[in-house]
């Protein structure tokens, strides 16, 4: 694998062709750009703007708390401020910022031309940017949510929080969830399928490992908050009593669902940051990362274990002690993998000659702050201690040590480290030291005293406090620290404005002598040719790599299809499999994104008709976008260099679409898992609500048979397509639609005696049935889309990705709905 595929000089004009093909759109169309470098930078910048905005809210709060009995900000606004600060920092800054770093860096780090679904990244960015900004503006109308970033009911139910405010959170966060999941699908498929030839799992950069785990965690964690927000909004808007104790609901159900998302969320933020540190430290020490295998182990272990910690946010809710102990054990055990990473970084620094520049300083600052936060984390993981510290400023100190130490300092290190990758100039080293100094001192002055404020009993989320409790001095010091921290960040922004000039081909380049592929000479097309990777630190161990890549001596030095393309490789060994033709910029993803955000936000203020219009436009945008996908296959395999000929079309399990649909099915399964959990949880709380007698099994058997028959027809349709019998394919597909609609009609009809507003049981049953209806509607839309394409001659035995997508999702949905039938009709009989 080490011989060059194209050792001879390349013909003139190839590079110009690559530049032309990958050039960004100009004029008004400039905003339709989809290339990961542009979208990545816009994404990071937007996330950072939200960091500044939420930081300003924090400064307002710190000003209010500087002295006792302050009258600057009243309780109403203060509630909005802390809710928005937490919500924006977590949903609009931290997750998007690390996701954005992934979109910016991963293709180049893996040696791919771009991510496999570039328009999906653009969609994720625009839904988030537009929706997030409008969400922020709700503050100025006095409509911002007030229930804390965790929005616990019953406080947030309609009875105690009437008005739009809480709806802004519940629906406003909807587009963030969609955006995060879209980005996660992009990142998973990108990392597993577009790595350079030779980049096996064992040679994959740690950042890519971290982003893979991050994206998988989003797939399993975000569904919990999707279900939670759905239930609470259904209760607020339609009175379905999931959380109302008087009708058999339970407010704790919310906490279970929210924290099943909320705790992994902390690691969703931390793991990519840790991955960045694992890239920065070897460059600064000029030595390979110590314990690569152990670091990968730590990432995987943390990713999984973080799903077993959620109840440690609920230690004070009255759950039995033994149950709490399981979570106490898991919460302390998770310190082990985090410790492994910290020791690996220290060992790497110890084995090399460390350059004490700004990224290094931020990493060292991170080590200090994060380890302190980890230690207080082990303290609050211990149940009796947590009961003392619960809801005090000790927890505020702990979580800021973990999040700012674990994410903000690494992100600043990453900014200083990777700016030369996408800017003409590096940032100023002299100002950087000041930025670090101010931030480090300011942070510790602000948050270290809060441990004491908390131990002295000051509760969180109070807008003011009386004098004479011993809190005044500590609060004043914290406020001074917060402003020093803010001064550091302001200085960073100043330096950024002064020095950052977006550039790819004429970027500052590999100023750190780093070892990973993103430091190869690159342009919008990523690398001139796609290298063969033979080691974990390719730029160090393959000395001529940069020169050969630039000279086009590796794979794909040109554009054999005449358009945008990248090599798809196998997920384990990264063997070249086929050539993915990639889309060009267009308006459809943007229109879909903007109107998706508008749909959710208009629903918030109960403008239902305009919301539905926007929703329809968003769906239209998506359909237009999807219509252009699955282009006509190119018949002959194409030469990508060194005699390697790759097909330029793929359907089935090797296609990128198949992988995306499988990840989407994992998301759907997680959502359904949370719904099933909610049903069973409410049964443990209120078993008396579950009926002793149910209507006969006749209708449900009819539903099940119709569903299975619809799946069988899809199988038949597949067989017809494979044999080229397009008419019988379409007929079978149409038949499947009829059977599905009939099945759902029978199921809907069998619950007419039940009311969703009378009891939590009725609400749960209706939820399961309505979800079946929603998924059914999605299936019908997908099948009609395939039929329309077939009518236009765009589906045949080779060109069949659209059909396969619908087929996969159909079988999945039928299986899911059958599980739902078992739950709704079988479980009550089992326990009666």
């Amino acid at each position: 694998m080490n011989e060059l595929p194209n050792p001879t000089p390349r013909p003139a004009g190839e590079l110009e062709e690559l530049r032309r093909i990958w050039s960004r759109p100009r004029g008004l169309r400039a905003i339709t750009v989809i290339n990961n470098n542009y979208v990545g930078v816009m994404y990071v910048a937007t996330a950072f703007v939200f960091f500044l905005l939420a930081g300003l809210l924090a400064l307002l709060m710190r000003t209010q708390l500087a002295v006792p009995d302050n009258r600057l900000i009243g309780p109403e606004l203060y509630n909005q401020l802390f809710t928005m600060h937490g919500t924006i920092m977590m949903f609009l800054f931290a997750v998007p910022a690390v996701e954005a770093m992934g979109i910016l860096l991963i293709p180049n780090m893996l040696g791919a031309r771009d991510l496999p679904f570039p328009r999906l990244s653009a969609f994720a960015f625009w839904a988030y940017a537009v929706g997030g900004l409008i969400f922020f503006l709700s503050l100025f109308a006095g409509w911002a949510p007030t229930g804390g970033w965790f929005m616990n009911p019953p406080l947030t139910t309609e009875r105690y929080s009437p008005g739009f405010n809480e709806d802004f959170w519940l629906l406003g966060i909807g587009f963030i969830e969609i955006s995060a999941i879209a980005g996660a699908i992009e990142i998973i498929v990108g990392i597993l399928r577009t790595r350079s030839p030779g980049m096996t799992l064992a040679r994959m950069p740690v950042f890519a490992w971290a982003m893979l785990i991050f994206a998988l965690m989003i797939v399993f964690a975000f569904p919990a908050v999707i279900v939670a927000t759905m239930l609470l909004e259904l209760e607020r808007a339609f009175g379905w009593p999931f959380f109302s104790a008087d009708k058999g609901g339970d407010a704790l159900l919310w906490q279970h669902l929210f924290w099943f998302f909320g705790h992994p969320e902390v690691y969703i933020i931390f793991l990519p940051a840790a991955g960045m540190v694992s890239m920065i430290v070897p460059s600064m020490a000029q030595a390979p990362l110590a314990g690569y295998r152990l670091v990968v182990l730590a990432l995987i272990a943390t990713g999984f274990l973080s799903f077993g910690l959620w109840v440690h946010h609920m230690f004070a809710t009255g759950i039995p002690e033994l149950s709490l102990s399981f979570f106490q054990a898991a919460s302390t055990a998770v310190a082990i993998p985090s410790g492994i990473q910290v020791f690996a970084w220290i060992a790497t620094l110890a084995r090399g000659r460390v350059r004490l520049n700004t990224p290094t300083l931020f990493v060292l600052g991170m080590l200090f702050i994060f380890v302190l936060g980890g230690l207080t984390g082990v303290m609050v993981a211990v149940v009796p201690f947590d009961w003392q510290a619960h809801d005090t400023y000790f927890v505020v100190a702990h979580l800021h040590y973990v999040l700012i130490g674990g994410m903000v300092f690494p992100l600043l290190a990453a900014f200083y480290y990777w700016v030369p990758y996408c800017s003409r100039n590096a940032l100023s080293e002299r100002l950087g030291r000041w930025v670090f100094g101010l931030m480090f001192v300011g942070f510790n002055v602000a948050f270290l005293p809060m441990h004491l404020t908390g131990l002295l009993g000051m509760p969180r989320r109070v807008y003011t406090y009386p004098a004479g409790l011993g809190w005044e001095g500590l609060n004043l010091v914290s406020t001074v620290g917060a402003f020093i921290l803010a001064a550091g960040i302001a200085l960073f922004v100043f330096d950024l404005v002064r020095r950052f000039r977006f550039a790819m081909e004429d970027n500052a380049g590999n100023v750190w002598n780093a070892a990973s592929l993103e430091w190869l000479p690159s342009g919008n097309y990523s690398n001139r040719s796609i290298p063969i990777v033979a080691s974990r630190d390719p730029l160090w161990e393959q000395p001529n790599l940069a020169k050969d890549v630039q000279a086009g001596h590796y794979y794909l030095p040109n554009a054999p299809t005449g358009g945008r393309e990248t090599i798809m490789t196998s997920p384990l060994e990264a063997r070249p499999e086929w050539l993915l033709r990639m889309p060009y910029p267009g308006w459809a993803p943007l229109v879909a994104a903007w109107f998706t955000a508008a749909f959710f936000l208009l629903l918030t203020v109960k403008l239902v008709i305009p919301a539905l219009v926007c929703g329809a436009i968003a769906v239209g945008g998506i359909l237009h976008w999807a219509w252009e996908l699955d282009p006509a296959p190119l018949k002959a395999p194409l030469d990508v260099g060194g005699g390697l000929k790759l097909a330029a079309y793929m359907s089935g399990p090797k296609s990128q679409a198949w992988w995306a649909v499988v990840v989407l099915m994992l998301v759907a399964a997680s959502i359904y898992g949370c719904v099933v959990f909610s049903y069973l949880y409410l049964w443990t709380v209120s078993p008396k609500l579950w009926p002793r007698e149910l209507p006969g099994l006749g209708p449900v058997l009819v539903t099940a048979i119709l569903l299975i028959a619809s799946s069988a027809l899809i199988g038949l349709s597949n067989a017809s397509l494979t044999r080229g019998r397009l008419n019988s394919m379409s007929a079978a597909l149409a038949g499947a639609i009829v059977l599905l609609v009939a099945a759902l009609g029978v199921e809907f009809g069998s619950h007419t005696a039940l009311s969703p507003t009378d009891s939590a049981y009725g609400a749960m049953v209706y939820l399961v049935v309505w979800l079946a209806g929603f998924y059914g509607a999605v299936l019908v839309a997908m099948a009609l889309f395939v039929l329309a394409r077939a009518a236009k001659g765009m589906v045949d035995p080779v060109r069949r990705v659209t059909f396969d997508n619908a087929r996969l999702f159909w079988h999945y949905t039928v299986a899911q709905t059958l599980v739902g039938l078992l739950l709704v009709h079988g479980f009550p009989r089992l326990v009666a």
């Binding site: 999984f304 033994l322 054990a329 384990l572 709380v685």
Partner: protein, 99 residues
């Protein structure tokens, strides 16, 4: 080996941990809620024993080919899972049941 099989092998140890965790938490919650405290300890002991055997099997399978990356990862992840399983199961000996 296929990607799906490799991914399952690598995560087998922590999947066992997750199933064990869900089982002991679910069983103790349900038995306490329905008034069967005497069933909690034996159930947790049984689940823990099954999970330990399963994790040891994954460790043994991976450790034989530990020079390769994926088998090493599979064994090590399972080793970590084993520690977490034992640590969490231990709680039943130390903390009052249904208290």
């Amino acid at each position: 080996m296929s990607f799906a099989a490799t991914a399952l092998r690598i995560s087998a140890g922590v999947i066992i941990w997750a199933l064990h965790f869900a089982a002991i938490y679910g069983a103790s919650g349900l038995f306490c809620a329905r008034g069967f405290p005497e069933l909690v300890a034996p159930t947790i002991a049984a689940f823990t024993a099954i999970a330990v055997v399963a994790a040891l099997a994954v460790i043994a399978a991976g450790w034989r080919r530990r020079a390769e990356f994926e088998p090493w990862l599979s064994a090590s992840v399972a080793g970590f899972g084993l520690v977490a399983i034992l640590y969490e199961g231990l709680a039943v000996l130390l903390v009052p049941i249904c208290g």
